[in-house]
Subunit: 363 residues, 3 copies
């Protein structure tokens, strides 16, 4: 793709400076972007802009002086990451999935393939499945019977969409993600050890040999519109109802959502997050990498959990939490500070005990 | 599938009430189950039963009054989750894998395919592999040379079964799981930094540049009967002997078992558990989500580890543990209580020191 | 493969004893290795050697007496794990991927396939991709447009290599790993909750409804030579530049590297490690299982992080760290010791307060 500096600025809703007719074909980092290369250097902070070569074109932050860096043209980013979104969209060539239906694909005759949908080699599409208009299905993906994929969805290579799963419009699913595996749900004939310790908080009286009986998963998985699912993430089907992810929510690589989990809208679940069965997450919740959520609990709207937080109990809306077990972030930061001094406390306490003992003896 | 209330009660070994001839075709949640829909509502606690619509059919807990909810018929569940197991099994249509051998499958002529086995599109089966009777192999799965799959096994789409891997009867493997990848085992020519700090517990004298040499994996993976493996889980092959999972054990999504690991029978390993190389887990052990186990340690029978527990040393049989590092659950709960008060302790200790100093001065 | 004891010792650069002409066809554990089986028993410590059967052949540690175990021949291992590397390499039959190009593979005519490369069934290779000499590509793998795979690389079944990804020579990639999924990078029109709390460390003033806008990934992924990537691991492409892994680094199953991450040479990243976007890891760094690294931080050369360490801030070169949040390993071990005594401290502190109060009253 080629645009001029002027056109690019307009599409980014940003102000431009210098020679607005220079052609732009891509973006690069300041240190590796050459003059007259067609690349626009991303230099949205002075520390990055230092590496700019004279004669380049660049994106600068508002308030930076283009003449100081001897660039030929510049676009000013009022909110740099937002400009990054527009810029990267402008130069993205789109997913590596050719248009048309590849002859090797195995598509059940009862399936419905939307207009302009692209189906890559070795895709399997089951009975009565529906693929939306302009959807693109990468190689080796499998779409189960009765599954529904929205329009403009991008399903990358090796993704598994189980039977009856429903996926909204404009959804991106990264390679090898699995939607609609069976829930991890088992029961023993008599009370199991887990049930016993949930009751006793640690004590066990009767340890007996029991086998696990499978609770089958009759429910499905439903994703809203504009959802993203990361590579090798897994979302299990519900037992009776569906496991659900609301519109606009983004889920990173290697995340696990257990059976019956409900995630609200516009959430951000970072890599390696795990949410156990039947828990509910509100809207606009952010869980940083490696956060864990126990089963059957509720996390309110707008909760933010820092990296590796472990959540064992319900979290009220709007709370910012951190730690294992999760507490308010500011409390956790105090705990951490005190914990680092803990070995010293131990020493101080023991010294003080001695002093007091001596005082007592004297007294 | 259609059964009558009476037949369903009998198959669940449960008591029924009301019109036993009503036909049941599926199950649903109380709030969304309509009268005369063929769906039986799961209302095994009063709080769920409140949402029941008059004229429905329902499963209730023992002791609940069907007339109070105006249902037409009811089945009583003495142990609700056990009834769920029977009920969901009754209405499960089975895995989405058609019977017969799909013409696109690439099956080595020396492989043995059991009676009634189902092989989906694009499956690859290697030399001398053996597929048991009634086994179902999902699309895009690959079964390596000499691998053996038991009868009635369900291997879902995209699963990788490496060469020589042995899998028992009635095993379920969820999509994109990998059994028989190479172990993560490397060695440096001289002592490595890891070996040094295991010896010194933290001190490092000599930091040298060394490359890692690969220890190849000649062992395999063996699963007993009735094992389940979750989506995107990985079980590495052993170095010389096999990595093993005992009969009846259930392993959730994104779990990692390292090379040479031995897991006993009837264990439950929840999502994102990781067990490092050469560790041994006893029978009936439950590891909750995100539990980590160091290499070369032993976990006794009947151990239960709470969510995100990190186990660095051997755990005796029957122990219930929690925390990082793992301690007895009751100890951990005390530690957590004290930790939350730690910032306050710091203040109290410092106040006390001042007081005692003043006392000393006065004395 | 068959070699004599003498030849094997020579290839391992080790000393041999006894009948050097005995044929060796494989290796086993002492307890299960029979005399005259062709198997050599691995008995590199007295505790293992006790199980040796008389008449066997064995690998012993230097200093052990072969006659005490009545073996017919022995090889002495000066560094046992290094001998394991040589021995397992000697008997490894190589990956289960047949030579030649399978007729079902879909290879774009513009792709270049190196001499002796092996391409398994159902592989898809995109436009202008380059596969090195002797590379082996397992079944169901997909290689995107313009991707480059080095010579002697082994890409196992179901691996996803995205467009433009560059992979060095002699790289091993285990099944279902994903290289080149899109980065997890989003922005809101106005300041988001995450940005707000990074500024305020916990306080939130304005909670507003905002949607996430996608920052597209124009960068790629680059792996050096002799890299290993584990099963179901995921490495996301960079935003503008490449996500990179240096030569000789080994990455285990289910590891996540975010967009723009740079990992140096000869690192060891164990299972379930996660490194968030734009962080940089030096050379010879070892991160044990389940270690987490925040975004945009730097980890120096030769850092070693123990199991489940969570790293939120930069780590200087050579440091050995442990815990959440990470501190020096020796500090963490002291903290753990003090933490276990914390409930007792609480009691002691409260007793001491009482004593001092009484002293004060008396005074």
């Amino acid at each position: 793709m080629t645009v001029t500096i002027g056109e690019l600025a307009q599409s980014l809703d940003a102000r431009a400076w210098g020679d607005l007719d220079i052609q732009v074909t891509g973006a690069g980092e300041p240190a590796t972007t050459l003059p007259d290369s067609g690349q626009i250097a991303l230099a949205m902070a002075p520390k990055y802009a230092e590496a700019l070569r004279p004669g380049c074109i660049a994106i600068l932050a508002e308030g930076m002086d283009p003449e100081a860096y001897a660039v030929k043209a510049a676009i000013f980013a009022p909110r740099p990451r937002l400009v990054m979104a527009g810029l990267t969209r402008a130069f993205d060539q789109g997913p590596d999935i050719d248009t048309g239906i590849h002859p090797t694909a195995v598509i059940d005759p009862s399936a419905t393939i939307g207009e302009n949908a692209a189906i890559a080699p070795f895709v399997v599409i089951g009975r009565c499945a529906v693929i939306g208009a302009n959807a693109r299905i990468g190689s080796h993906a499998s779409i189960g019977r009765n599954a529904r994929i929205g329009s403009d969805a991008v399903i990358h290579s090796g993704v598994r969409i189980g039977h009856d799963v429903v996926i909204g419009d404009r959804v991106f699913i990264q390679p090898n993600a699995v939607l609609g595996g069976d829930g991890f749900s088992f029961v023993t004939p008599e009370e199991s050890g887990i049930e016993e310790i949930r009751r006793t908080l640690g004590e066990r009286e009767n340890i007996t040999t029991q086998h696990w009986t499978r609770i089958h998963s009759l429910g499905t998985v439903q994703l809203g519109d504009d959802v993203e699912i990361g590579a090798n993430a897994t979302i299990d089907r519900g037992t009776i109802r569906a496991t659900r992810v609301g519109s606009g929510s983004k889920i990173d690589n290697l995340v696990m959502l257990g059976h019956n989990v409900v995630v609200g809208e516009d959430c951000l679940l970072c890599s390696q997050v795990g949410i156990a069965g039947s828990s509910t997450v509100g809207n606009r919740v952010v869980l940083a990498g490696k956060v864990g959520v126990s089963d059957n609990i509720t996390i309110g709207d707008d909760v933010i959990a820092g990296g590796a937080t472990k959540i064992f109990t319900r979290v009220p809306a709007g709370r910012v939490i951190l730690g294992n077990p999760a507490v308010k972030m500011e409390t956790q930061l105090e705990i951490q500070k005190a914990t680092r001094r803990l070995p010293r406390f131990a020493k101080q306490l023991s010294d003080l005990q001695e002093t007091v003992t001596r005082l007592l003896e004297k007294g």
